[in-house]
Symmetry: C2
Subunit: 288 residues, 2 copies
């Protein structure tokens, strides 16, 4: 996973090359937020699922970088004062603190745009139908019916406590959709069978939910320095989470169950699915 | 032009259909900003240039709607308090006033994302190479090397007065790039010759600049109610514009010259280029 993160960082570094005009500040802000570490779970999912279908590594890494750009843009905008108002991200100042609000808004916009530019480029994949398909699923997952809609739902929900079905739907939109695309991208690039693609989708659904439960547990139990962002936020905001609704023990058990279930969806890939199976268990046991 | 605006509005109305969850607010904000009138100059450029190559009207209108979504997203974000801090847009409350800042940020994000979703969809064009090409040029025009970079440049420039080459470069990035894509989209969809595409690019370059000069003149001379946004802003902000650098008379003459030059680039299209030629003169004579 560390090797993969390093490889993706190199591709991001190359894709986010700064020009030399006075507007270079925008690229500096994009680089600041996209190259500041992070676990790179989504890129890992892209390359690991691409490996199932023997997709060229450079293609997979470019798609992985594009999806990570979308993730990073969402973090920049989520941290803005008008949104979650977070000063800290991955242990460093949030983009709008390091730069300013206007630059952060624009850097997010530019990262989102760049993601589609990268996917549309024939260096990402030689087949234009594959490129258009990648863009279509990413746009659907990131837009008003996916990630952005989930963020809206989260803001609207501040006024009332969500129940389990509502919170599950919120998670699917806000984080699950992009995780699903990360798993499906490999299948799209590798022109996999519908059956394989569905298996990856089901896997993604389970680890996405498991990931969120683990995140909620970290917010309650995690060490702020290790997690790299403020903890205890959900409770302080009186926000319903999987942990507040289920309690710690049942939440932890549910996450473990989801990891088992996710691993099982990969049975058809036999030995080749090992990396993704391991990830499912990593997701629920992580401490940062 | 009014007929075209109506047709594009119908397509936007269809593409921005609201779901029924609590997150429907995001689609309401997208619709508020994308369906609130506007001259629809970019969509007009798309369909008029598509007509040169006999592109199907439904295809052209979907591409036109996608480009207009990018334009509308940029207006929403530009109007934010952290950016230009404008309360009024097209004679109505800006998105962040009508809704709130968070919703406006997300609505802009979602419109940008939706634009790429629309272009990647095979209902926009049956050929995936054409779709990928449309996405590539739009992303380049809208991103850090185009529109967003231009907006950054504009913010950075607030500290010092720009000279003519700087202000020309700013305009090309901030508004020129998207106008150029609007003209090239028809050529891409119609698989036009390089020569035809270059002619449209040159035309777009000239009308883009002419459009900006006309905009600067309107900021000085225009009627606020008619223009639909605050006027006199540039002078109040001590901002260098084509008008402040050239004076009104020379600016007006320059805009007229650019319109002539733009029209000449269309010579190879003969009679078929009439609509676009007329637009070049409309751009410099508009009062709103």
């Amino acid at each position: 996973m560390a090797d993969n993160a390093k490889a993706v960082n190199e591709v991001l570094d190359e894709l986010l090359e700064a020009g030399d005009g006075p507007e270079v500040r925008i690229v500096e802000a994009m680089r600041y937020s996209a190259l500041n570490g992070g676990k790179r779970i989504r890129p890992f999912l892209v390359t690991a699922s691409a490996d199932l279908f023997n997709v060229d590594r450079p293609s997979a890494l470019r798609a992985a970088a594009a999806i990570e750009m979308v993730h990073c843009y969402s973090l920049i905008h989520d941290d803005l004062p008008a949104m979650d108002d977070d000063d800290l991200r991955r242990g460093k100042a949030a983009c709008h603190i390091e730069f300013d609000e206007a630059t952060a808004i624009l850097a997010g916009d530019a990262l989102l745009t760049k993601a589609f530019e990268v996917l549309a480029d024939d260096r990402t994949h030689g087949n234009s139908t594959v490129r258009a398909e990648l863009i279509l699923v990413l746009a659907k997952a990131a837009g008003d019916a996916g990630m952005v809609g989930g963020q809206m739902l989260d803001l609207v929900a501040k006024d009332h406590a969500l129940n389990m079905p509502e919170i599950t739907r919120l998670q699917r939109m806000k984080t699950g959709a992009l995780i699903a695309v990360s798993c499906e991208a490999g299948a799209i690039m590798g022109r996999a069978s519908e059956k394989a693609r569905h298996a990856l989708h089901a896997y993604a659904h389970d680890i996405g939910l498991a990931f969120q439960i683990a995140d909620d547990l970290l917010d309650v139990e995690g060490d702020e320095a290790e997690v790299g962002k403020k903890t205890g936020k959900d409770a302080a905001a009186g926000k319903a989470t999987f942990v507040s609704l289920l309690g710690r023990e049942r939440a932890r058990a549910q996450a473990g169950l989801l990891a088992d279930q996710a691993a099982m969806h990969l049975d058809l890939f036999e030995e080749k699915g090992k990396l993704l199976r391991d990830l499912a268990y990593f997701v629920v046991s992580r401490t940062a």
